[in-house]
Symmetry: C2
Subunit: 359 residues, 2 copies
Amino acid sequence: MIKRTKTRKIYIGSVAIGGGAPISVQSMTNTDTRDVQATLEQIKRVADAGCDIIRCAVPDEKAAKCLCEICEASPLPVIADIHFRGELALLSLDADIKGLRINPGNLENPEDIARIAEKAGDKNVPIRVGVNAGSLSKKWREEIHQGTCTVEEAMVESALVHVRLLEKQGFELIKIALKSSHVPTTIQAYRLMANRCDYPFHVGITEAGTPRIGIVKSCVGIGALLSEGLGDTLRVSLTADPEQEVFVGINILQSLGLREQGTEIISCPMCGRMEINLLPLVEKVEQHLAKETIPIKVAVMGCIVNGPGEAREADVGIAGGKGSGALFRGGEIVRSVPEEELFTALAAEIDKIIEEKKK
Amino acid sequence: MIKRTKTRKIYIGSVAIGGGAPISVQSMTNTDTRDVQATLEQIKRVADAGCDIIRCAVPDEKAAKCLCEICEASPLPVIADIHFRGELALLSLDADIKGLRINPGNLENPEDIARIAEKAGDKNVPIRVGVNAGSLSKKWREEIHQGTCTVEEAMVESALVHVRLLEKQGFELIKIALKSSHVPTTIQAYRLMANRCDYPFHVGITEAGTPRIGIVKSCVGIGALLSEGLGDTLRVSLTADPEQEVFVGINILQSLGLREQGTEIISCPMCGRMEINLLPLVEKVEQHLAKETIPIKVAVMGCIVNGPGEAREADVGIAGGKGSGALFRGGEIVRSVPEEELFTALAAEIDKIIEEKKK
């Protein structure tokens, strides 16, 4: 249903980005990259969580050298995250990295960029031009301060300077990110950039904070961009475990119909119309389906207003009544079930459907 | 920064909705409306959480009669939620309710609608025409089934039938909602309706589920609509306490710059570049600010890449280094602080700023 903006296609390892490819989910390790074992263990955990691409910070030469071992054993394509020093990008390219990220705010020397473009081009490794509002270079901060451009314009122009430098070397395996911790600034920056080029976009809200507020900011910002058709790969940035970033990223895509749902539970907010005790029932169903990978849609509804309708659209569902519930399957009422047996009856139907789907 | 779509203005009690008024946050009680005391206690809790408008289910005559006492003592304007039976709307209008919600999917008799419009008009009480995809009437379900219209079109047309019936009675204090548990369906329905009328919109994702997934769906859906300029009042529907709905609703508005921030904490996702232990520090700052109402922006950043930039934009902040951090205030480095003293130093600066702002 979402009409995605047409972009060019690049590949991070075997993961296609842009050109209509499925939107991929990225995360970043927060282990010390120089601790190869801890980093690889974390990469395996985020891979299990469903992550498509992982990025590692490269703060120094030792970290760059450790990338060789990390890339060799990583189940996910690895992107090297470079700031300040171009030679760290060149060194990282000696490892089997599948992508580079450079920051125009702190890597400005055109000769450095030219050298990086040449080596990345030889190795067919795409480069993300990743601008952060928090690390714009002095030139752009001054322009903003003087009022000659907005933050969003500075972000876009700053990225385009790098894009032109890369193109000058004949390098076009480019991806662009324009992140701010302020959601409307981020949205506006990507909207402006969409009118200026057709490179794929990596979208996200940077420094979104702890899960409590960071999930809201990320979902609002990334959700708004995706619903406008902007974004080819995403990262949710949270002050939390990277696995949690991945879960939220996948949930954003699923909620917009941009990735297949695994299990889906529809449940109502329990108003004064409800005559059964819904919350423990929903929690039990959630637990029952926690490890399930077969796509199944279950509706757990408190009353007859939207209950039958939602339960009809689901594979299986219940709609609560007075001390009992109606069990629905494939749009039909199967039977009425006393409240105390609702979970057992629903779980049995769920298991039956999953068995059938597996065949 | 968001350009809001121009709509007419109505009032729910003293809360303006539409016509450029601030976007209000609604919730719904999940107590039994016939239990006046429990309902009033819950209304007081959601009012304390920052809710602007509360809605109560009216499943029967007794609930309608209890509204008198509830409305008299409620700190928030009360909306009566009506399904199936028009006489419950008429009875509710005898109480001092400030709004009515009717559902075109289950209240279809034009004579009923005419009577409700007449009495609501006499009392100057606005009516929300609230369509849910889960409770579309048989006629529309059949049309969808036969492929003669999409779900979104059915939702819009179903609402417009009611709108025309109300207008026929000279009643125009109308608000519209078009909710589905499917996010893209909801977004598309509101987009279609925005081309058909200029009544204010109540936006939300219905039956979004438990907080884990419901927050993501609500933020993505409501965030996408608001970022397009659609939506004059909102409700986050969660299988959870109504207070939590209110917190998430307020956070959505704040993240889009549509409501003033109280305290704001910017914190980074802690990559392999970080050399201080950030998470406990962020958690302590969050706790320190938990009850604060003075607007203050604090940046807690792990490293020098975006650290100084974000800390500069904040009222106060730290950017981590090796075993220490730089304390920033109003864009200037105040001093370097050893890691073990970072929280104490930051908290002292925060308290100082809050004291100054209070004066």
